[in-house]
Symmetry: C2
């Protein structure tokens, strides 16, 4: 009944990680993984515990809770139970000076509790090495991402138009959409790596809501439910004839996400300048997608596209007003916001098996955010779209 | 349209925090808040930024994104825009040696980025002081919690029985329940402070699923959707006649949660030993609730109750098999897992305005988890239940 991550996958991931570590520092000695996402990546189960990876010798998953569930779910060869860090510390004979940790995730207090039993002198970040390994998806991972893309396409392109009803609230659409996504196979979570970022579903916006500012570092905005929980959508904003509907949500299968934005026009057509801006965004997506080939440089894709755009179009492009984001797309996988990013300073060449969401979008005053987003696999022929080909502004009349 | 946290609330919270800080260290100089939950608590808005609280002088909320939304939502007197920490650092003239930080939340890398511009020599935890202040709810906060309790009661006691249909999956019930909770006024999030804990809704379990182990530190278990996303409920486990249904979910209004567990018996009665165990849990809840008075000591409530239970009843009480948790209840508020906890070593007396969830539960082999959970306000007459009086095992035949 439990769909387990195959052992060969786990072995390859560990092999690739060790290789990446040795590239960044041939003298590395030990890495310790705490985050549930990376525990899942390396072991196929996400429990409360830690994975100790020494450069020499076998890696061990130490589980505080639940050890039984870890054994049920994971094919990882070495899983041990611990009541506290003390139990695991007993098994380490010689402690090197430096430990590699997920510094973007591990809180100061957790590090202090860990250090009490593992008195490392200092720590270094293991985040970049793990990101680099996770960026390149295996065939197994791609098959899950393709399945997420299929569900995503079906729900956003085919089912959402039937859900839109005059007078419904954004939150009505958001919860309905969430239910349908899960029913169709979505894994129910929408995960981001950015510090303290909560999303649940994504942005579900009617009209001007999609250009209302949020803390989230993306081109679109949203009202959300309330200041205390800016999630889902507004209860007060009801769907009206003439509204642009903006749906930017994640979908996932067995941990692996796709990212997709679809727009709809409800009840009556948009003004021509909004349609023109939208179509231009679709062209930009397609042009960027054609460049998603092994060897291409993300920063060059970004500047090639951006340099062609005139100042009039750049106004409100990738964010309304001064809320612009400085990227055109981003890696997708176990998290929706993975690296590489299609942005300046990402200068390492693309590789086969990388997956990107491209999301050119432009804010239109009093109307909302037009544009598009789809998820692509890097191939020798350019990005292969796995979330559908509908150009958006789907009419619902 | 935007429901703002009143200025008097914000002022009182800051006053209480400063008082708490001075109790713990009269020489404290500066605290810096990063987590969205605490930013919301002190300022009424949750943005990407930080709140700098000096012992002398005004506190300032520095917002990276979105400054405009912060101004829309918050009545906090001092809100400034920053592009980076550098902008805020310019405004600090003299830096003390020590900064108080949310060490349970702030990741190592965020601290390093912060320290680059704010070169404090060391940090101390501000988590206990904030928890102590947040534990005592104002009338304003209690009114929101009461409203969450009203919705919680209505949905779990009155609406869930109508949702249960033979053959539906746990995930069907979970998404349906999520939609209905939001429709009735729930704020859509279910927040925990424990490291890297993802919940979305809570535990929705049919039969033995509620004793299946999870990483979550609570008495109940659940299958969840899949190893990569142990959220919502299982797609495979369908509701059958004779199932015990276990629903343990959070509900919230404007950030403030209640916590409640209701059980249902579907199609046919449970064996008498399960009913007896359930009733005993209800009695324990009511007995513990009667002790929730100002001045009572949480650890004494815990030991008083636990010492009366015989070894036969203690088997699988508060967790199936070896998965017992060592508490009977916990504080609730902006997070579902707040302090104080009704457990050993919580020796500070209760105060008026504290809010607790009490959750005596017992695992029954092959049947699932019986027991109950409700949320109570500490009053001179004992805990006032705000999530309903239904004793559970609601028959749905």
């Amino acid at each position: 009944m439990i769909k387990k991550v195959p052992l060969t996958e786990l072995k390859n991931r560990m092999y690739n990680f060790r290789k990446q570590m040795s590239i960044s520092n041939p003298e590395w000695e030990i890495a310790v993984i705490f985050s549930k996402i990376n525990l899942y990546y390396f072991t196929g189960t996400m429990q409360d515990g830690m994975l100790i990876i020494p450069r020499h010798g076998e890696a061990t998953l130490w589980v505080r809770r639940s050890y039984e569930r870890a054994l049920d779910e994971s094919l990882f060869p070495s899983i041990e139970h611990m009541n506290s860090f003390r139990d695991a510390a007993k098994n380490i004979n010689v402690l090197p000076d430096t430990v590699y940790l997920e510094t973007e995730v591990v809180p100061l207090a957790l590090y202090q509790r860990f250090q009490k039993y593992f008195p490392f002198k200092n720590f270094k970040p293991v985040d970049p090495q793990i990101c680099a390994v996770r960026a390149i998806k295996s065939e197994y991972e791609l098959s899950l991402i393709r399945e997420a893309g299929r569900i995503h396409q079906h729900v956003l392109e085919e089912l959402v138009p039937e859900m839109l009803q005059e007078g419904m609230s954004e939150s009505d659409l958001a919860t309905k959409l969430f239910s349908v996504l899960v029913e169709e196979g979505h894994h129910g979570a929408c995960r981001f790596g950015m510090f303290d970022t909560e999303m649940i579903l994504g942005n579900v916006c009617f009209g001007e809501s999609s250009i209302y500012p949020t803390y989230f570092n993306g081109p679109g905005g949203k009202y959300g439910l309330c200041p205390a929980a800016p999630v889902l959508g507004s209860r007060d904003r009801k769907l009206r004839k003439g509204d642009l509907v903006f749906v930017d949500v994640g979908c996932g299968v067995d941990g692996y996400h796709t990212d997709k934005t679809t727009t709809y026009i409800f009840g009556s057509p948009l003004p021509q300048h909004a349609i023109d801006a939208h179509n231009k965004c679709v062209d930009i997506q397609n042009e960027a997608a054609s460049m998603l080939k092994p060897g291409a440089i993300p920063s060059e894709i970004y500047t090639t596209i951006m340099n062609k755009l005139d100042s009039e179009f750049l106004e409100n492009f990738m964010g309304f007003g001064n809320r612009k984001v400085k990227f055109l797309g981003h890696g997708v996988g176990l998290l929706i916001d993975e690296t590489p990013v299609i942005a300046e300073s990402f200068d390492e060449p693309l590789q086969e098996g990388m997956v990107f969401a491209l999301e050119p979008k432009k804010g239109i005053e009093n109307i909302g955010m037009v544009g598009i987003e789809n998820t692509f696999i890097v191939t020798a022929k350019g990005g292969e779209c796995i979330t559908g080909y509908n150009p958006g502004l789907i009419p619902v009349f």
